[in-house]
């Protein structure tokens, strides 16, 4: 098991190297001069542009820039943000807590809500409960996040005044968490429902009932455990999404976060920040995959890694 994990983790190294190299090149190949974008359309003189190019190291040839990037990245130094002049690690560290908060809260809402709706729908198929749960799931999947966000802000922030719109603290996390989790709610609810319907007809469920087990035990221990399998896969994918997928939620609720940082940095071609963030996102995806593999082994005794 541990050897398997170790091997998986070692594979992350080439993945990260390829990802960062691609990021480095693609950023520089797509049109747009970082200095122009930084000046955001301002008619600056050639002197300003020259100074900025020199300051940002953009006047060096591309291979030299790449060598510089790799040598420093190996030491964990991703340079300084073009926009703010701060070390990239610091820029990311400032935004990370808010992202983790949102990801954590969104994960809880998404997985919790998805499981609850899915189980309810799976246990009472073709009833009003099922209908309501699947309708909510449909909304979660198909409505764009910003639309859900605007409706929530309007009703719960403005009309009812239950939660602040842009304030800080835990209450201000509720709406963003719901918006962020809504996609996961929808996806998981459908998946769990069909998994439960699948396993309900299995022999071992009938056996469990025949043994005289309580319905609660049948559902939670026997049905759900097997139904969880596809859920774990899905959750792993969502975990990756949670790292950089907060753009809309972060923007609409005026929150800090890596998603919005990534988008702004791409649009302004803030190379150092984008490179570091892509490295981070790639690492998060790879790590989430390894984690999923490990969890498979835990919930399913049939799976053992050599």
């Amino acid at each position: 098991m541990s050897r398997y994990v170790l091997r998986k983790l070692m594979w992350t190294v080439p993945v990260l190297v390829v990802a960062t190299t691609c990021a480095f090149l693609v950023l520089r190949l797509i049109p747009g001069d970082p200095v122009n974008l930084m000046l955001s359309g301002r008619p600056a003189s050639e002197r300003v542009r020259e100074n900025l190019r020199a300051k940002l190291g953009l006047n060096r040839p591309l291979p030299a820039q790449y060598a510089y990037f790799v040598l420093h990245a190996l030491r964990g130094d991703f340079g300084e943000s073009f926009a703010t002049g701060q070390p990239v690690s610091q820029v990311i560290a400032q935004q990370l807590p808010a992202s983790l908060q949102l990801a954590g809260a969104g994960f809880i809402v998404g997985v919790g809500g998805g499981l609850a709706l899915g189980i309810a729908a799976g246990l009472y198929p073709n009833t009003a409960i099922d209908g309501a749960a699947m309708f909510l799931a449909l909304v979660g999947i198909s409505m764009p996040g910003y639309w859900i966000a605007m409706l929530l802000i309007y009703f719960f922030g403005l009309r009812l005044g239950w939660v602040p719109i842009v304030g800080g603290g835990l209450p201000a996390l509720i709406l963003p968490a719901v918006v962020f989790g809504s996609y996961a709610i929808g996806n998981l609810a459908r998946l769990v429902r069909s998994s439960i319907l699948d396993v309900r007809g299995e022999d071992y469920i009938r056996t469990a009932r025949a043994k005289g087990l309580m319905e609660r035990v049948v559902v939670l221990r026997h049905a759900l455990r097997n139904a969880l399998f596809p859920v774990v896969t899905m959750t792993g994918l969502l975990l990756g999404l949670f790292i950089g997928g907060g753009v809309i939620t972060e923007t609409v609720f005026a929150r800090q976060g890596l998603g919005a940082l990534l988008v702004t940095s791409i649009l302004t071609k803030d190379y150092p920040v984008v490179q570091a963030l892509l490295l981070l996102t790639t690492a998060a995806y790879v790590f989430a995959n390894v984690l999923v593999d490990v969890v498979y082994g835990v919930i399913d005794p049939r799976i053992r890694y050599q």
Binding site: I30, P31, G32, D33, N36, L37, M38, L39, S40, G41, R42, P43, A44, S45, R47, V48, E50, N51, L52, A54, K55, L56, E80, A83, T84, G85, Q86, V91, Q94, Q95, M150, I153, Y154, G157, L158, G161, P164, I165, V166, G167, G168, T251, V252, F253, A254, R255, Q256, G257, A260, L261, T264, L267, K269
Partner: protein, 544 residues
């Protein structure tokens, strides 16, 4: 000039005899004003909802009018240029142009301290300007505002002379800019370094920096030692506001909702469609700035078919009913613009209002004359080719769609392409467009150099703003002349010639004055637009 006890200069008369009047300015005006507005709360926090995130708070580095909103509450410049177009003493009590127009000598206030407790002296002025031109700083805005800057001489601790290599007509306007050429604390810069200073700014202004959380807010608090406000404020001494918070809320709807809910006191850039509602709701009001500088304008490429033909360019300009189009898109929030600089900009020539007013018959005639005949579907053709004009839009796609409909009437097919900034830059540098849009907030008419000087024609690898790609020695000569004309009357005459010239050659079609619609809670009083009508100064404000 000082009949009401307040020193006032029209910018037309600033060259001679400012000294005596300046002496009478500060204290007297202060005593008159201080009695006025001391009844409101002194513990209030004022929260401004800002639509864009910040990258720096160093006035020497920034180029962003959004960052300016925070910077100008904490920093001050040598002179105060009010929205009435007059200069008032600020950190400098008086100033004198040298005879050759290449130097200005400033007598500085002696009682000003930076937020870090160090005194404001001539050395700080020299330090600020000298560091701005240091390439290592990477100045994005201030360095251009210094113009042909040569040096600063410290004559004594409170007298300083700024020198240029040639006469610089924009000098006073630029030096009065409260967010680009405002004075920084040399001690703080030396202690923190340039990057550190950008995150812990130290100036002399009425508010002191407290905290900046990127993407969330900038917090400032009252400078209790402050007693050197310029006379146009109806106030002296420390501000009535205890704290000022700039809350970053990029999404328009969220920002307006936050104002409705009372989570912020002021909302910048209210979407035009919300303006009427906010103005009509209880407890809220709007103020709308008619921004100075270059209006939202179409620059027409003179080097690419079919707009290389003057008649086509002029027909385009006659075909658009500006008041109607602007009303459709802005619901009365923006005013139509007729000239390359807006009416609130010094040097504005009102003659532009009679040029190229809506005249579809004339537009059709011009196109007929140019050989473009009405073809099937209403689009004109010539030698089998349709009259298609390629329009790239980044700033205001909604407006351009309205324009598209307007010119269709005279047989022009306007292909409006929505582009990203990066794509726009590429197309501009390679000349692959007929029309593009610009607008620029500026206080000095020298802003006209940007779209019209021949050396600003874009080329591959060289992103510039002369998008009409029109280079003429005559226009260059007029622009250069205006840049060096320290005498305002003479300069205004040259500027009038320039404004007429660029319209008649069909280089630019001005569309509307940029509006800055600001919504606020009625409890907030005495908000004041800064020069240029974009940012708002909080110093004189109070909350009931």
């Amino acid at each position: 000039m000082t009949s009401d006890g307040r020193a006032r200069w029209s910018r037309r008369g600033f060259i001679k005899g400012t000294a005596a009047a300046a002496l009478a300015a500060g204290p007297l005006a202060g005593m008159l004003a201080s009695a006025v507005a001391q009844t409101s709360r002194t513990d209030a926090t004022l929260t401004w909802g800002e639509d864009q995130d910040y990258a720096t708070l160093d006035p020497r580095v920034t180029q962003s009018r959004h960052e300016a909103q925070a910077i100008m509450q904490m920093f001050e410049s040598l002179l105060f240029l009010d929205t009435d177009g007059r200069f008032y003493p600020w950190l400098a009590q008086r100033w004198d142009y040298s005879k050759d127009g290449k130097s200005i000598t400033f007598a500085l206030r002696r009682d000003v301290k930076f937020h870090d407790g160090t005194p404001f002296t001539a050395e700080a002025v020299k330090f600020t300007f000298d560091t701005i031109i240091d390439p290592k700083l990477g100045s994005q805005g201030a360095i251009d505002f210094l113009g042909p800057y040569k040096s600063t001489d410290v004559i004594d601790p409170y007298t300083v002379r700024v020198n240029w290599t040639e006469p610089f007509a924009a000098a006073l306007t630029n030096l009065s800019n409260p967010w680009l050429l405002s004075i920084v604390s040399p001690a703080a810069v030396r202690k923190l370094g340039n990057n550190g200073f950008a995150r812990n700014p130290v100036g002399t202004g009425p508010f002191k920096f407290v905290e900046w959380v990127p993407r969330v807010h900038v917090v400032m608090e009252r400078n209790d030692a402050y007693h050197w406000a310029p006379s146009p404020f109806k106030r002296q001494g420390p501000s009535a506001l205890k704290r000022v918070v700039i809350r970053i809320i990029p999404d328009d709807s969220t920002r307006v909702a936050a104002l409705d809910r009372g989570e912020i006191d002021i909302c910048d850039q209210v979407p035009p469609i919300e303006v009427k509602r906010i103005r009509g709701s209880q407890g809220f009001d709007m103020m709308i700035g008619d921004v100075s500088g270059i209006p939202l304008a179409h620059l027409i490429n003179t080097q690419l078919e079919p707009t290389d033909d003057l008649r086509v360019r002029q027909a385009y300009m006659y075909a658009i009913n500006r008041p109607q189009v602007v009303q459709q898109v802005f619901f009365g929030v923006a005013k139509p613009a007729y000239g390359p600089i807006t009416p609130t900009t010094p040097g504005y020539w009102a003659g532009v209002e009679k040029l190229f007013t809506y005249d579809p018959a004339k537009a059709r005639q011009l196109l007929d004359d140019a050989g473009w005949k009405v073809g099937p579907g209403g689009t004109r053709t010539k030698n089998g080719r349709p009259l298609e004009i390629h329009f790239i839009t980044l700033l205001e796609p909604d407006l351009e769609v309205a324009v598209q409909a307007a010119v269709k009437d005279v047989g022009i097919k306007l292909n409006v392409e929505r582009v990203t900034k990066a794509r726009q830059d590429e197309m501009v540098m390679h000349g692959q467009y007929n029309i593009g849009e610009i607008r620029w907030v500026a206080v000095d008419p020298s802003v006209l150099d940007i779209p019209f000087f021949s050396h600003n024609v874009p080329a591959p690898g060289k992103f510039k703003f002369n998008w009409s790609r029109f280079g003429s020695p005559e226009l260059d000569r007029m622009l250069r002349l205006a840049d060096g004309q320290v005498d305002v009357k003479q300069r205004d005459k040259t500027l009038a010639d320039i404004q007429q010239f660029v319209l008649q050659r069909g280089l630019m079609f001005p569309v509307h004055v940029s509006p800055q619609p600001i919504g606020f809670r009625r409890a907030v009083r005495n908000l004041k637009f800064a020069q240029g009508y974009w940012q708002v100064l909080f110093y004189g404000a109070s909350v009931d």
